[in-house]
Symmetry: C2
Subunit: 203 residues, 2 copies
């Protein structure tokens, strides 16, 4: 419902009411702690949202860890941009998309090696935010042990934020998470409309 | 449904089939053009996704324009991080959230001034990607004329990407867009669980 542009007083009253609700909410929510955030679902924007949070954390002067569990054969813009930013520790697992390797053993080995990198970050409170990009896909394929992953996430430093992306987030991870967003496809140019995947927005 | 870790051959076959589908899709989708992408819905991650796409585009060496239509009173991490990145032209509209100003006329004026900045970007094909952060909120409050906005978006250079974020994307914008993601709240720490909004992930 759009508001009537002709009623500035009603508008001011509504805005004042909203402001009050926001203030109350902020006052009530005084529990300071690291957040476990999961971005899942089939819609576009999960990884880019995770990388946006990396940028935001860097803007606050935080040290950030990034571990990508799936990487395309294409050079990705995120990697080119973030790998050498000061304050970023950037790791990429293995050898391209799982449907490119076609070798389960190799994928499992790469995933386990990547999780060792994550474990070290999760044990180090100098990392203020850790992005585990496409971890859900590695869990989906059972390249990693879900219980071990959940235990390590729970045992992390109290103030550390972790962002997990990827379709098919396991139910137990959603239960453990503080904030979960599911991204729904309303329309997809690449899939629906025969538009080529575009560098910059897609790759 | 999780696959059985004990069946490496079936796994390799499935991955090969997926690879084939991906290749066919990429071959079919050869239409090179700028994409209009809308990130909407109540879930967390719309703006951060837009900023992730900014980072990705910068990683490809593209020039990027950012116009924020709503800005909190808090300094935001995105602004601190991106404002001085080479290749970024960063503008922030007006004076804080609309529920802080409580002055409709001032908000309309700020929105119109911000749209003039956008118009110049939309007329300049050196901008390869433009992020219009929280534009949907300005449209929702009718601070801008929707038809004018849609006309300007349609008249932009063929290869220019535009990303629009914010709840309540108008139906006509969704119709015009190439790709639309709706972000659904599954859980929200700040709202549901009394956890304070956290610098880095929330602010």
């Amino acid at each position: 419902m759009r508001e009537n542009a002709k009623e500035p007083e009603r508008h001011a009253r509504r805005m004042a009411a909203k402001q009050k609700v926001m203030q109350q909410r902020i006052e009530r929510a005084q529990k300071e702690q690291g957040v476990l955030l999961v971005l899942t679902g089939p819609g576009k924007g999960k990884s880019s949202s995770g990388f946006g949070m990396v940028a935001r954390a860097l803007g606050h002067g935080m040290k950030v860890g990034v571990v990508q569990f799936i990487k395309g054969k294409f050079s990705t813009g995120e990697e080119a941009f973030f790998r050498d930013q000061p304050g970023v520790d950037y790791h990429v697992m293995g050898q391209g998309y799982t449907w490119d390797t076609q070798n389960r053993e190799q994928d499992e080995e790469s995933a386990r090696a990547a999780w060792e990198v994550v474990k070290n970050m999760l044990a180090d409170d100098s990392y203020k935010l850790i992005l585990l990009d496409e971890l859900n896909i590695a869990l989906r394929h059972e390249y990693l042990d879900l219980d071990e992953v959940l235990d390590d996430l729970q045992a992390r430093p109290e103030m550390q934020h972790v962002v997990v992306t990827g379709r098919y987030a396991p139910k137990q991870l959603i239960e453990l998470a503080d904030t979960v967003t599911e991204m729904k496809v309303v329309k997809h140019a690449f899939k629906d409309q025969g538009i080529k995947a575009q560098a910059g927005v897609e790759l």
